[in-house]
Symmetry: C2
Subunit: 313 residues, 2 copies
């Protein structure tokens, strides 16, 4: 195991992939891996890229990777596949496109599922990001479809959150309403050659005028990722935000709350596996039957399990 970790820390992509797989599968080795790499973390710039399905996130990420490579940075990408019954296909297609980079030793791309993690999605995704950080990637991009709470949690793992919008999806105003403004550090209006792009930009700016507070006013960047237009601006906005995060009180608070979330995720994961073990020991056909017949209730069962497991409630 030490050898595998050392190989990963020296930048070996196969070893990195293996570590992430162990973490993702919640191997008993995962905790040991994370403990040994943790002191090496905290150097990478973690960028979250989110937005509606069809906003062109993958193409944008693709172009951003190129830009970072041109600047001499190594890049890790974690694409969180929501495994949603309603979007599985499109995402798979996107991933195939991104594999262009897979041959480049400075880019590591990994797709991760968002199902069935004991510590929640943000748990294993966060750990994978830390692994890439420890293993020397200068930039770690977490790409996720922005629907659902779990995706919002993922986004909170990032130093910088890039929200990708497109004209004509009709969701511009809704986004504003629902308060996603607060999570975006950089707005990217992609497919900006389409009608209505300027309207989207104006809407975002207006909303910022009304609701913005704090030290960092999120810039609004127009891109046409397919053609590469505006990608340089997007990357430099993202990098300016990084500077801001490193040198401001706001950024410090953000790092603290991220660490807190990490402790909670680790606790949650440990406790969930404990629960599954304890319930597994006690569950029996007879007990389930009693539950079904309403002779006992789930709350009393849960209480008796907790009484046994916990020192003090």
């Amino acid at each position: 195991m030490d050898r595998l970790v050392n190989r990963a820390l020296s930048g070996d992509h196969r070893a990195i992939a293996r570590l992430i797989s162990l973490v993702e599968s919640e191997s008993p080795l995962a905790d040991g891996i994370m403990r040994s790499i943790y002191p090496r973390t905290g150097r990478a710039h973690i960028i979250g890229v989110t937005g509606s399905p069809g906003a062109g996130k993958s193409t944008l990420v693709d172009k951003m990777i190129h830009r970072f490579l041109d600047m001499g940075r190594s890049v890790g990408v974690i694409a969180v596949d929501p495994s949603s019954p309603f979007s599985g296909g499109a995402i798979l297609g996107d991933r195939l496109r991104m594999q262009n980079h897979a041959v480049d030793s400075r880019v590591f791309i990994r797709s991760m599922g968002s199902r069935g993690s004991l510590g929640g999605v943000s748990g294993t995704t966060g750990e994978a990001a830390l692994i890439l950080d420890a293993c020397g990637k200068d930039v770690v991009i977490i790409e996720t479809v922005g629907v659902g709470q779990s995706e919002v949690d993922i986004v909170k793992l990032a130093d910088t959150v890039c929200l990708v919008l497109v004209p004509g999806m009709g969701d511009d105003v809704q986004i504003m309403k629902a308060g996603i403004m607060e999570i975006a550090d950089v707005f990217v209006v992609n497919k900006a050659d389409r009608d209505g792009a300027d309207k989207v930009v104006a809407d975002i700016r207006m909303m910022l005028d009304i609701s913005f507070r704090g030290d960092w006013r999120p810039p609004v960047v127009k891109t046409c990722a397919e053609r590469g237009d505006g990608v340089e601006d997007a990357v430099s906005s993202v990098m300016s935000h990084r500077e801001h995060v490193l040198n401001s009180q706001e950024g410090r608070l953000r790092r603290l709350s991220r660490i807190e979330a990490m402790v909670e995720a680790v606790l949650r994961k440990e406790v969930s596996s404990l629960i599954q073990r304890e319930w597994g020991k006690r569950r029996s056909e007879g007990l389930l039957e009693d539950l079904l017949l309403r002779k006992v209730d789930p709350y009393s069962i849960a209480e008796s399990i907790l009484d046994e497991v916990l020192c003090s409630k």
Copy 2:
């Protein structure tokens, strides 16, 4: 509290609403409420209605309510609002339409958020469904947007899952691929007056021919919910499935696994609140600073908290 529970059990909508609010807000009273109502549960037909945004779920549910009322059944509806930044607006609009029924004493409609529940969304939604069941609703409809894991979990709470599709959304094939076939007990092709409806029906049937196994072959029903067409068929398919569930081995297994999931959800909720309490006691500016500087790692902190809280790991 006993008086409130008794009023709810006798069908008083204001008391029911109050109980659900207590459960939703994770009040310390929630467990007591659930214990006292649990023996009265197990009678309602719990129906999950899911599908992409824009599939017309709310209109369909609206018409289904009417149909059940005509048959002399009382109805409870829990609309799970994913609070998604990308869909907030539309869902609010749908809910407003459904309020037509709010005046009818045989219909109880409640919108629930899907954020920030300790036991996960399925926890509180399941509890609300049990409350409606105990309080005498013959039919409990859980309506949810079918994206993301948490929504799939909700759907698993139901006796009967109704998957709503529409022509021309381009997601028909993807749905098949991603294995949502397994969760659907009844397929509803809504907006069936649109071009391509028969194609969607044929696609579903073909997929069922290939992949279907088990005792219940999910029927495919065409509706045009806006005009009320086909709603009667949809409701009778849903009711036939209920008969099947009550009288088959498959249905028994389903009820058992639902009860198991409930015990796990209760355990998870209890343990999560314990963790938040314990972590809250220990967290300090100094500890967070040490974490930030990588002097300690989150895994060791979590371990020491668990060591203190648990009798045996």
